[in-house]
Amino acid sequence: MKILVPIKRVVDPGVRVRPLADGSGMDIANAKMSINPFCEIAVEEAIRLKEQRLANEGVTTEIVVVSIGAQSTQEQLRSALALGADRALHIATDASLEPLAIAKVLHAVVRQEQPRLILLGKQSIDGDHNQTGQMLAALCGYPQGTFASRIEYKGEEIWVTRELDGGLQTLALKLPAVVTTDLRLNQPRFPTMPNIMKARQKALAVIPLADLDLDLQARLQTLGLDSPKLRQQGVIVKSVAELVDKLRQEAKVL
């Protein structure tokens, strides 16, 4: 079996970012970069599925990670290899692509690789789109299980428990399928030193985006990036009584 895991390089979630003064982009030139946390959860889940299937059924699984981005995205691909992915694909481009374009590129990769399962993050924490997995599922004509907090592999099907606004929904998807990960699916492991060494030997193929010959033209024009209105810092009250008084008399909300 083969699992494809698309991962994205993003600014580390611990870094505070703001727009550039002229609003033309984000001020992230020297920011620490990481694998998008949801993608890391997807890589972890792929590794767990691989381990389980080997232990329970003696089945071998190949985990292929793919990332679309500049040369530097290879750092995140190497990290994923160090976590336990088997092989990496770097679709090389300096362009910043919209989710629809990313989904088209991934669709081309799916046609090439023919995975049984595609695990993506539910959302990239830079663009906060939450679109790519659903779009990829549509282009492939595959079922989708979004916002997964539990996955159970059952031969021809995969059972996915989804975190919805009103509770937890469980769906059985026919394979091949697309699943996107939510935060509570698992707790990703840390890479070990020997695995980091081993990752250097693993295959990382580079494919120039232009080789795929796709129409990836942007559909949206970014007019600018504004800073959100800052909340005014308020007052520190000394007691519960003062708090209640302020909420009643000043804010008039109680």
Partner: protein, 319 residues
């Protein structure tokens, strides 16, 4: 500014445990705003099984041209594989398609969009013209102003950014339409719905949220007591949810719910960027934390530096 050459909108009506979801009224609030730029004809679409009651309520939304109702077995669970191709077909007659930026809308809209070869704009928080929309990026650290010339605009609306319209007594005409054929790519197994007497987080006037500082699930009872006094809902930080103090669907933040109540109590939570992303538009923020340097105080209108286990019982007693 270019107006869409097709000034009509289709709104996908969302259903929840109560039937007609309040998000629909917020989406209509966004449409009211769009109407300042475009003379819109608006149709609503209700899809599901046995959805007559929802349709009846949806028909009371003011200013509607037509209410389309697709009622049948194949759409009972509103599976995106079945809905998306059918919706893509319906949507091609409109200039705009709207859904709420809820888990329902987030699951479905991108699938429809890809089938139509359209890049949607999701999590819209402001409508700046008939073709210009604002959405937050980087957990709300920046607001992206976007322009689209696509002839059909697919939009999902953040409830916290728009005010709800009121239901009217009048009733829009209802047109039954055929349901799509089931695609059978996935099967519904079950839904564990959270039953609660309390107001929904995204609709509540008051929210009492707790974090890791609550220390245990039992202690969340303190928050419920406070919420009950104020007729409010309870929310939680990711750390509180991960620690099992509160249910998943109570998480407020970048990757949970986005709320904008009249009053937001942040208790025993530090105020990480990802949390603030979900509550920054609250009108009044109250923070109770024992660490005077906790970042939550930077966004709080009223801060109390105290041990929550002392302050909360006192607060509950004084209300």
């Amino acid at each position: 500014m270019t107006l869409s050459n097709n000034p009509s909108a289709l709104v996908l009506v969302e259903q929840d445990a109560s039937g007609f979801s309040l998000i629909n009224l917020k989406v209509m609030g966004a449409i009211e705003r769009l109407r300042e730029f475009v003379d819109l004809q608006v149709d609503l679409l209700v899809v599901g099984k046995d959805c007559a009651a929802v349709a009846e309520k949806a028909a009371r939304i003011p200013g509607i041209r037509n209410l389309l109702v697709a009622d049948g077995d194949s759409v009972e669970h509103q599976l995106p594989e079945t809905l998306a191709p059918w919706l893509a077909n319906l949507a091609s007659d409109y200039g705009y398609v709207f859904v709420g930026a809820t888990t329902f809308g987030k699951d479905l809209l991108p699938r429809v969009a890809a089938l139509m070869d359209i890049q949607p704009i999701t999590d819209v928080i402001a409508i700046d013209s008939g073709c210009e929309f604002t959405r937050p990026v980087y957990a709300g650290s920046a607001l992206a102003r976007l322009r689209t010339e696509q002839p059909i605009k697919l939009l999902s609306i953040r409830a916290s950014a728009f005010s709800a319209v009121e239901l009217a007594e009048s009733s829009a005409p209802i047109t039954p339409i055929a349901v799509p054929q089931a695609q059978n790519m996935s099967r519904f197994i079950g839904l564990q719905q959270v039953q609660t007497e309390r107001p929904d987080l995204t609709a509540a006037r008051v929210i009492v949220s707790g974090g890791r500082g609550l220390q245990a699930r039992e202690n969340f009872q303190l928050l419920y007591q406070l919420a009950d006094k104020l007729g409010g809902a309870v929310g939680a930080s990711r750390a509180a949810v991960d620690s099992g103090f509160a249910a998943n669907n109570l998480q407020v933040g970048q990757t949970g719910k986005v709320v904008a109540p009249e009053v937001y109590f942040a208790i025993g939570l530090s105020g990480a960027v990802q949390h603030i992303a979900g509550m920054r538009d609250s009108r009044v923020v109250v923070a109770i934390n024992k660490d005077p340097d906790a970042p939550i105080f930077q966004v709080a209108d009223y801060g109390l530096v105290a041990d929550l286990f002392d302050a909360l019982p006192e607060l509950i007693a004084q209300l």
